[in-house]
Amino acid sequence: MSAPGSFSKPSWIGSGTMILDIFLTVSKGIGLTLYITAASLFFGGIVGLFLAAGAQSRFALLRLAVAAYVNVVRVIPPITWLFLIYFGLPQFALKLSTLEAAIVGFSVIASAFMAEIYRSGLLSIPVGQREAAHALGMGQLTTARWVITPQAFRVALPAIATYAIGLLKDSALASTIGVHEITYFAQQSAKQLHQGLLSFALAGALYIILSLVIAVISRRIHVRLRQKTGVA
């Protein structure tokens, strides 16, 4: 049934079973697509937290280092990062699997973006909040942990969700180093079944659906927080 189509026959008019077949193949990649996205968001989110803290530091040198890191990460295209890490690092005897390389690469990228997102979240918290906490005798760390961060997170949530969707789409690049995610399988079925349009249309549909799911979840959380606290 997977007979290669030919140019003379418009093979993109696939039969129902063909569509199902391709869909099943492409959707095998959903797991790793989500895994890369989630893991990179997680690690990048944590590193970004430290970067954002460093950007607030009293030490000019640390602030400078953070700014430099964020800028360097952002001016280099993601695909170049992936290649640098996947092909380049083994030269330091650091052999990473394709999946590990993808997660390291996207975590590095995510950390820079998340740091920026946190930073603007922090900027949106009125000074009075920090002052009130200090006036109540709470120290820097306690204030950061219990007063500032929860509020900054709530402000940053929509931006984090938008970034997560961006990361989901960027994760397609992992196929270029051979990670078995959605785009990789779409490519396989495009080549093997000569069903380019169908394969990538289905892959694209999957990305859009997953993006929508992320958007809906974040929207839910946002609305719930807003209803709970009564703050816009």
Binding site: F7, V75, T80, L84, Q91, I208
Partner: protein
């Protein structure tokens, strides 16, 4: 410094790649931005069909990873009997992607122009189109320019994707060198630096532009 020796040897080979990357970016912007404006205008149209077409094009252009869009065109156009070069395919994909994002910025710019301006344009006797062209559009463009400039930088970074369909741009050249020399770290570091420097230059220009624009506004 063996790194430096390598780099000096490789730079001439990367040069043509840089030229193609910039060419690709330029074309994608040249086609993508007007396309985005058209999509924005369609989205504001009174005809539901036009609005729907615009919506579909924008959602696919933004919702799909640029890489998937690229593959989609690359693998499916030939099946439909449309034979294009890799470069042309890449230009179409990146223009589509850029146009979809640009349309959002144009729409935001258009909606940021105060209602009163539109009414003033109409009451001063302009036709709908002339009023739009002479009064609304210039103001909207001024608002949209900073995000569009940011988008241009992203399009340049996105041009690296064309590597996967063998457009001989910077990333392809780098890969070519690396697969001959096996000096991956060195090659891709240099590539990263080249991309970084050009992007950084772009960003500096964008900043300059923003400063000038805001001076006009005051």
């Amino acid at each position: 410094m063996s790194f430096l020796n390598d780099w000096i040897a490789w730079l001439p080979q990367l040069g043509p790649g840089v030229a193609i990357s910039l060419q690709l970016t330029g074309m994608a912007l040249f086609f993508g931005f007007p396309f985005g404006l058209l999509l924005a205008a369609m989205a504001e149209s009174r005809l539901a069909t036009l609005r729907w077409i615009s919506f579909l094009i924008v959602e696919v252009g933004r919702g799909l990873p640029a890489l998937v869009l690229l593959y989609l065109l690359y693998f499916s156009l030939p099946d439909m009997g449309v034979i294009l070069t890799s470069m042309t395919t890449a230009v179409i994909a990146l223009s589509w992607n850029a146009g979809a994002y640009a349309s959002e910025y144009f729409r935001a710019g258009l909606s940021a122009v105060p209602r009163g301006q539109k009414e003033a344009a109409l009451t001063s006797g302009f036709s709908r189109w002339t009023g739009f062209r002479l009064v609304i559009l210039p103001q909207a463009l001024r608002i949209s320019t900073p995000p569009l400039a940011g988008l241009a930088v992203l399009v340049f970074q996105g041009s690296a994707l064309a590597f996967v369909i063998a457009v001989p741009e910077l990333m392809s050249k780098a890969y070519e060198i690396s697969s001959m020399t096996f000096r991956y770290l060195s090659v891709f570091s240099l590539t990263a630096i080249v991309y970084g420097l050009i992007t950084w230059l772009f960003l500096a220009l964008v900043k300059l532009l923003e400063v000038r624009l805001s001076r006009h506004l005051v």
